[in-house]
Structures are given as C-alpha cells and as structure tokens.
C-alpha cells in the first residue's frame, strides 16, 4: 500500500516535470526570431501568401491554444509536419536518425555501464593499489576533456594520423541493418564510452569505499564472515542505489551529449537532425527532438527513482 503510493507519487512528479518541460520548449521555440510562415516561404513571398500560410499553420491563434493543439497532437503520436522538405511528417524526418542514435546510445551504454561499475568497484576493493591509482588518474584526465575533443583524439589516433583501423566518419548505409556494419560505429561508441565511464567509475569507487568503511561492513568482518559474503551480501546490495542513480544520470547525459559526438563523426543521428533543423528554422522538428530528449531524461530518472525505492528497505517499508 505504502509502496504503491510512493511509486504513484513519483510517476505523478515525472509527468508534472514533463509537462513543465513541454511548456518551456514551446515557449522557447516561440521566442525564436522570425515568423515560421516566412521561414518556409522564403524572403520573396508576398505578405498575403505569408498570411494565408500563417492561418493554415494555426499561427494566428492565441499562444495557449497553439500549445494545447501541439501537446494533444504530440501525445497522440502526431508530431506535426516539417516546415522543410516538401511538408513531410516530422515522424518521418526524425525516424531514421532517432533509430541510429538509439543504436549508438544503447551500444555505448552496454559497453560503458558494466565496465565502469566493475572498474569502480574493483578499484575500491583494491584501494591504493596499482590499478586503483591508474584508474583514478586516468579518469580525472578523461573527465577533464570535453567529448568532442575525445572524439577528435580518437580519430587522430585510430583512424588518420597514427593507425588506420576504422573509418573516421560513421555513415552506416540505411538499407543494411546496423549490426552488419559495426566497424562504422566503433569510433563513436568508443568516444561516448570514454566520455561517460570516468563519472560512473569515480562515483562507484567513492560509494564503494564509503560502504566498505561503514560500521556494518566492519561488523560483518568481526562476525567472521568470509570476504565473499561480506562483499556480495553486505556491500553490494547497498551499492545498487548509487550504481542505478549514476547510470541513469549518465545515460540521460548520453542522450544529450550525443549531439556533439555525432557532429564530429558526421553520424546521421538525432544530433545531426537537430542541428540541421535549427539552421533551417524547422520549428516542429526542433520541438519534437527536444521534447523526446527531455522525455528520455525524465523517464530515466524516474526509472532510477523507482528502482531505488524498490531496493531500499527503509523507503520500501516505511517506518514500522
């Protein structure tokens, strides 16, 4: 009963956050300079033509009404029509890039999350050892570099100047399934992994050390429990929460951080799509992409919160 209420509460908060985000996105795109109808028709259009198109697009209606229409369409899966490219539905414009980006993010997550959780925990268990020192120094260095710099370094080292192992740009053929052209994806995935893993690794290391120094771990050792049980039964369950929270935060970051990395590799993903939509003032596409990115952010954090509640007895059971 208590548990259900707590989760419903989180869900409601998540939906509320999404609503606020949608309002912000809508207002921000409203504030963009220029009239959408003029943007579509170009500078040569007559004022009459602009007025007609404005009415067709619903730009003459009050802002609140425009918002309501937009949101209701969005919720029912209708993302509107793009201003450019022959009046295509937005869903078609962003469909393929969205898929491409999802593949990239999922691959990067599959590599970086287990790697960094494992590495962080291991470094904590072998605290002050050689591996721990290597991990702490290298992660500081990597964390200090922006992801596009990492991307360029990766290209220099593995693709152009030093070694010639992988193609410097990633343009998978849309008609062939991605998993058959993985070599195209190696460098972008590597770049994203290098950008994400320092944070999760350092966080896991710090939390694991805190847990290992806690009194309940000392107590478990003073009870004579084998180290295997001390770690797996006593330490790991308490480390799930930081692992989940950190992972969710970094995955959410990936969803946005991908924009710069895709640009470096000229990868046809959602980032590239967003950048071209901005240059073309394709407002419906900008709105759709930003709202999707924001939803991913909110949903990941929501999922992390719910998992946290489920694995923390104090939250799950309430007091007594």
């Amino acid at each position: 009963m208590h548990l259900a209420r707590l989760i419903l509460q989180r869900l409601a908060l998540g939906i509320g956050t999404l609503f606020l985000v949608s309002v912000l996105i809508f207002l921000a795109t409203q504030a963009l300079p220029g009239n959408a109808a003029r943007a579509i028709l170009g500078n040569t259009a007559t004022p009459e033509k602009v007025a007609v198109l404005s009415r067709q697009l619903g730009l003459d209606k009050p802002v609140a009404r425009q918002y309501a229409i937009w949101v209701s369409h969005f919720v029912s899966g209708n993302l509107g029509r793009s201003f450019v490219g022959m009046d295509q539905p937005v869903s078609q414009v962003i469909g393929q890039p969205l898929y491409n980006s999802t593949v990239l993010v999922v691959l990067a997550a599959l590599v970086s999350v287990p790697l960094s959780i494992g590495l962080g925990t291991y470094a904590a268990l072998r605290r002050d050892g050689r591996l721990d020192r290597a991990v702490t120094t290298s992660t500081v260095a990597l964390a200090a570099l922006p992801e596009f710099v990492i991307g360029i370094l990766v290209i220099i080292i593995l693709s152009t100047e030093v070694l010639h192992l992988f193609p410097p740009i990633a343009r998978p053929n849309p008609s062939v399934p991605v998993y058959r052209q993985l070599d195209e994806l190696v460098l972008p995935v590597l770049t994203l992994t290098l950008a994400v893993f320092p944070y999760i690794t350092r966080m896991m290391r710090a939390y694991t050390i805190e847990i290992l120094e806690s009194e309940y771990i000392s107590m478990a050792r003073l009870k004579g429990l084998p180290e295997r049980i001390v770690i797996w039964r006593h330490a790991v369950p308490n480390a799930i929460v930081p692992a989940v929270q950190g992972t969710a935060m970094q995955l959410a970051w990936l969803a946005g951080g991908i924009v710069a990395v895709e640009y470096v590799f000229a990868y046809p993903g959602i980032g590239s799509a967003l950048i071209s939509a901005i240059t073309e003032r394709d407002i419906p596409t900008i709105q759709a992409i930003t709202l999707i990115l924001a939803s991913v952010y909110v949903l990941l954090n929501l999922a992390a919160d719910i998992i946290t509640i489920l694995v923390t007895p104090r939250l799950r059971t309430g007091l007594r």
Binding site: E213, G224, I229, R233, H234, P237, R314
Partner: protein, 594 residues
C-alpha cells in the same frame, strides 16, 4: 579466559603509539570494565582483541591468548574462523552496525551458518529463537523479517547482543554498547549482558567512558589514560581505595546520585598520540608528580596481586587524607513563585499535528537552578525552546519573564527580553561558527546589546573568558583549535556576555568526557550563585541534577510527573515514573572518596 600481554598499537607508517604496554586477564564468567576518556585508546584495544585494525592503525606487538590459543599468531583464515565463534563483538552504535539492506533474520542466521553452528536449518532457526528469548525480544517470524530501521534503538542493541552470544563464544567484547540509549533501556541491556556472561561462563570486556555504568556490571576495572592502563583492580577495591591519581580524579568527577559528594572537575586534557610526554603521561596534570614521574613510566606495582597500579607514588596517593572540601553544599528550600524570574503556566505546545507538551507549570527563581529531566521524547527540550522563543510550533498558555508575558517567537520579543534569556546548546562542536575567531564569536552579544568601543569590548571578553577559566589569549584562535570542553566554555562565556537573567542549558555536557563534564557543572553551579541568574538545566542524566540543581521537574511524554526540591524528589520520589528512573540509573557507591 583471555590474556593480553604487552600489547601495542601504532599509527600506520609513523610508528606513533595509540596504545602500548597493555596487559590484562579476564577469566570466564567475569566482566572487565575498560574505562577511559575519548582518545585514550580503549576502543582500539577492544577491536585489537579480535585482531581487527581500524583504518590507519596497525598492531605493533604483544600477545593475546584466548583459551590458550595465540590469536596473534593466527593466519587470516584461522582468524576468520574465531571471529564470532570464539570471540565476538558488540558495537557502540547498532543503528550503524546492522546492515540496513538485510533482514534481522538474515543477519542472525549467517553467523550460525558461517561457523557451522547446528547441523540443519531447523536447528539454527531454533537457536535464533532461543537467542531472541535470551535478549528478551519476540522470536516470531514477523519480528525476524523486519529490517533494522523497523526496530527501536534498544531492540537493535539487543539484536546485536544476541548475535554476539549466538555461537556461544568464550570471549565477548562490548564497545560502549549503551551509549545513546535511555537509562531504562540501558538498564535492561546491562542486566541481559551480565546474566548471559554468568550463564555461559563468557569472559567479557566492557569498554566505556562511564564509571557508573561499569560499577554495576564489571567484576574488575582497568583504567586507561593516554594509551596505557594505569590501574587494574576488583571493582570494589578500585572504588574504595583507588591508588592512581588519575583514577581518583575520575571518581570525583562522576556525578553522584546520592549527593554524598560534590562534583569536582579537572582542567586540561589528555595528550593524544604523538603529543604524549615521556615517563608517566599523567604527570603534567598531577600535583604529586616528581622528577622520577617525568623520566620513566613506572613499573607494574600495587597493594596486592589483583590490584595493580602504575604510579611511582601510589603509596602516597593511598595515604592521602580525605579531602575536606566535600561538604554538602548549600541548598535553599524555597521553591515558591515569589521572586521568580521565569514562570511557566499551563504551557501546551505542538509539532505539526502532534501535541508534545500537555500543560506544564513551573518557575525558577534568580540564583537558583531548575533541572528539567526526562528521557528522549519527553518534551524537555521542546519546553526549553518554547521559553527561549525558538520553538516553531504552536504554543498555548503563559510564559512570563519578571512578571510580564513573553512573546512566543524570539523575533517578536523586544531586545531586552532577548538579552535576558540566553541559550547554550548541546554540542559545542555545532554551536560555534568554525569560520569565526573566538573574538568575533564573543563580540556578537556585546555589539547586539551594548554600546561599547573596541577596547571596552575586549576588556569584557577577556573578563568573560577568565570567568569560565579560559585564558584571554584565546581571543585570536578559531574553535577547531579548542577541545570540546574549551568550546563549551566559550559558548558559556558568549551567553554570559549578554548579562542574562535566565540561562538555558540544553544537555550541555552530554557530548563531553566525565572530567570535562564535572568541571563544566562546577563552573555553572558557581555562576548561578555568583551572578544570581536563573538557570534551566535540561538533562537526561539524574546524577547531574543532584550536583547542580535546587529544584527538579521530571517530565514524561509531555507531562510534568514530579516537581519539587531536588533532595525531596530524589530521596523520596512520589511518582512511579521517577522511582523507575532512579532505579535504572547506574550509581557509583563510593564509600570514602578521599
């Protein structure tokens, strides 16, 4: 049976000793109380018995044998097999030591499984149930399925005690297991520990800073000072004829419930690792010290085989005549509201929707001290906060200062009212701003309430520091350079600088060691007489009441259960609650303290 010989523990790398030359013996069925102030190395010694080193500490040398087995020579695997089986540990704070992610049952069963206790799960379940019965906890499924946070502090500590006795060990180490528990709960836990050690013939080491606690449970007492054991002896002998000057200091600083002796404090502090002098480490604070004391740590000596002391001059200490200053102090009998500074009439207040105080009437005269006593949750601190105007909830009833009604919130009170009531908080570590110098801290009330120039302010601040037995040169230092006791003195000086009519002290000694506590109580008691302020002393510790207060108000669940003159209430309590509280309070029966 446990024997420790020549044990030393060092700080990793530096070789600075945390404890050295530690030696004692505990026989089966006996409890040895290891007493010392914070920083004396007692907890380090306690965990060393399980060959457990805390981060940064390493075992230097020595010999530890339990039932003839040399613990020091054991490899890691053998050590693991004896921890929890041959020797077990009860931690200081069970709320931190029980794993929050695991059910009680899991944490109890695993120790049995690990050490192969019992042959089947049924047998182990039965043992768990038996353990729960022994520590007076329910043994039903529902209870065992709970997580630690679903138990009260006392229940958590019982689980920890049960766990320690689970595999019927030969030796058990208890590390201040009753700190943070109410007296009633503490009394239950102590009784359980004592019964179980007797019943199973377990040798127990009970580590504490509280002499009164060990006086009731220990057979022998070892006193530790600055990393060394300075005196060991049977409990009664030690209390009757303490032969080390430090032990004597400790004894007179224990608040005495019976009121036969007055509290006396000791200034200065015990030296920490790396700052310890050559020879006897107590010498710099000892008035009997001679050149020999400063040159060499005295050898093991003493009146008889069981009572050992490490002091060059123990014969002089024993022979020293009783101190005549211990006369019963003056106490006035009038508790009427006449001349009352603070009068509280039918005060009720709440936190949110919860009523926490239900109609309290009391008053304090000038130059008198009222002790507000109760267990946690009794509402005593809330009442003190209501009077000082920092309680944020609803307040009904009347609170009067010198006959006029006070506003509820201190922000609405005129400057003169705010000046008249000063509050001293529980933790001197939290109540002084670490970024401000002592001069900045002390000048605040002067700037608030008086028109003074720089020099006048400085003169008053130095006077105030001297009044609380601190040196005027401390004005330029920051709080983190001071010990806990010194910080609390600064907090008192700050309150005095406002020239208050009423001083509210909220558990001001509970985070301090006994010697420091005694000196703070001595100081407060003197200030009340000298300055004629009315003091409200909030505490859960009844013996302090006898040493300090004139009247006492006992609170339970927001009600005033007993109110009157200290001697009357403590010697002849009327309310059932007060009687129980008194019965559960550990006491030291010091026959003739010199």
């Amino acid at each position: 049976m446990l024997t420790v010989e020549g044990l030393s523990i060092e700080l990793e790398g530096s070789g600075v000793d945390i404890a050295d030359e530690v030696a004692f013996t505990i026989r089966g069925g006996e409890i040895l109380g290891l007493v010392g102030e914070s920083g004396s190395g007692k907890t380090t010694v306690a965990t060393a018995l399980l060959m457990f080193e805390r981060h940064g500490a390493v075992l230097g040398g020595g010999r530890i044998t339990i039932d003839g087995r040399d613990v020091f020579a054991m490899d890691a695997k053998t050590l693991r097999s004896i921890r929890g089986r041959l020797i077990s540990y009860v931690p200081q704070d069970p709320s931190m030591s029980l794993n929050p992610a695991l059910r009680i049952r899991t944490q109890l069963m695993e120790i049995l499984v690990t050490h192969g206790f019992g042959t089947s799960n049924e047998e182990r379940e039965a043992r768990v149930a038996e353990m729960m019965d022994e520590v007076l906890l329910p043994s039903g499924r529902d209870f065992l399925r709970r997580y630690p946070h679903q138990l009260s502090g006392g229940q958590q500590q019982r689980v920890a005690v049960g766990m320690a006795f689970a595999c019927r060990p030969a030796m058990i180490v208890l590390d201040e297991p009753t700190t943070g528990l109410d007296v009633t709960t503490q009394a239950h836990v102590l009784r359980t520990v004592k019964d179980l050690t007797r019943m199973y013939g377990v040798a127990a080491l009970y580590v504490t800073h509280d002499l009164a606690v060990v006086a009731n449970v220990a057979d022998h007492i070892a006193v530790m000072y600055a990393g060394r054991i300075v005196e060991v002896g049977p409990t009664e002998t030690l209390f009757r004829s303490a032969s080390h000057p430090y032990t004597r200091r400790l004894l007179i600083s224990v608040p005495d419930l019976s009121g036969k002796h007055t509290l006396r404090g000791t200034l200065g502090r015990a030296p920490g690792p790396g700052h310890r002098p050559q020879g006897c480490r107590f010498a710099p604070r000892c008035k009997l010290a001679i050149s020999e004391c400063r040159a060499e740590f005295p050898p093991d000596d003493g009146p008889d085989e069981n009572h050992r002391v490490r002091c060059w001059r123990w014969r002089e200490v024993v022979a020293e005549p009783a101190d005549t200053e211990f006369a019963s102090r003056l106490r006035t009998e009038d508790t009427d509201g006449e001349g009352a500074v603070i009068t509280v009439a039918d005060v009720r207040c709440s936190y949110g929707d919860n009523d926490v105080i239900h109609g309290i009437n009391m008053s304090v005269d000038s130059g008198r001290c009222l002790a507000l006593v109760g267990e946690s949750g009794s509402g005593k601190t809330t009442l003190a906060r209501c009077i000082s105007g920092i309680h944020s909830g609803r307040i009904a009833g009347s609170i009067k200062l010198d006959g006029h009604e006070l506003k509820r919130n201190s922000r609405e009170r005129p400057k003169s009212d705010r000046q008249a009531i000063q509050y001293i908080f529980q933790s001197p570590y939290a109540s002084l701003n670490p970024r401000k110098s002592i001069a900045q801290i002390l000048s605040l009330p002067l700037k608030m309430f008086f028109e003074l120039n720089r020099n006048e302010r400085e003169t008053r601040m130095i006077e105030a520091l001297e009044r609380v037995s601190l040196d005027g040169s401390l004005l330029s230092v920051y709080p983190d350079q001071l010990s806990g006791g010194e910080r609390q003195r600064v907090a008192i000086a700050r309150a005095l600088l406002a020239e208050p009519r009423v001083l509210i002290c909220d558990e001001v000694t509970s985070s301090l060691d006994v010697l420091v506590q005694a000196s703070i109580v001595e100081l407060l008691s003197k200030l009340v007489r000298d300055l004629g302020v009315a003091m409200i002393f909030v505490t859960h510790h009844l013996p302090l009441v006898r040493s300090l207060a004139d009247t006492v108000a006992v609170m339970n669940r927001g009600e005033l259960v007993e109110y009157g003159c200290v001697d009357e209430v403590l010697d002849n309590p009327q309310a059932e609650y007060t009687k129980n509280l008194l019965a559960d309070t550990p006491t030291v029966d010091i026959v003739d303290v010199p």
